[in-house]
Symmetry: C2
Subunit: 126 residues, 2 copies
């Protein structure tokens, strides 16, 4: 039987497959930083000001200290949040978004914009 015409388009001709993958990497980096069950909530919580460990935990129901600790470390490693230890006793520890962390804002806004449209669309469809 007659086959359908297929062109072999893969990547645009000026890009090799390898280059396509390379273009993908930064997108994955960004995605990694925001995905996961708690990251967004924690970032959001910190956008409203400095917070202490327990304070964040109390704000986010279900968040265990283990997870919070881990996520905060990730944020620190990526220089999105900073940790300040004060020599009180027992120690006081505060976390805060770095200026760099705040550069996530437009990205989150874009996600919010698209997500909102999508949500409406999916609900409208029923």
């Amino acid at each position: 039987m007659e086959a359908i015409e297929h062109d072999k388009r893969k990547c645009p001709s000026h890009l090799s497959t390898g280059e396509c993958v390379k273009r993908l990497l930064p997108v994955k980096d960004a995605l990694d930083i925001l995905s996961g069950k708690w990251k967004l909530q924690i970032i959001l919580s910190l956008t409203f000001g400095k917070k202490r460990f327990k304070q964040i935990q109390r704000e986010i129901p279900g968040l265990t200290p283990k997870m919070l600790s881990k996520e905060l470390k990730d944020l620190e490693i990526n220089e999105l949040a900073s940790r300040h230890v004060y020599d009180t006793s027992p120690v006081t520890v505060e976390y805060e978004l770095t200026p760099y962390g705040k550069t996530l804002r437009p990205l989150i806004d874009e996600l919010h914009k698209w997500g909102t449209k999508h949500r409406k669309r999916m609900i409208a469809r029923e």
Copy 2:
């Protein structure tokens, strides 16, 4: 010992905690659609034109038919991709990004932009 001054900022005063969570939902929706090991690559592959099942699979090393099948279904459910079956034998099936699917573009670009900066920063730091 003297405690440090803490304000109790949580959410901006005009937003309840519930409303904060609500603002989060659409962001998560968007994130869900893009995160995962294969979704981005599949979407990217489809931005370069209609593709057949095996064609996509060949383009993305390591992608099993089971995963591809599942991801394509997800894309269909979200109306981001469409499936066309042609009555040849054996059947020919083509997948393509819908116009709606193409609206993801600015979002992916934004992720790419931030991700690129972040990648540079992390590499520069060593």
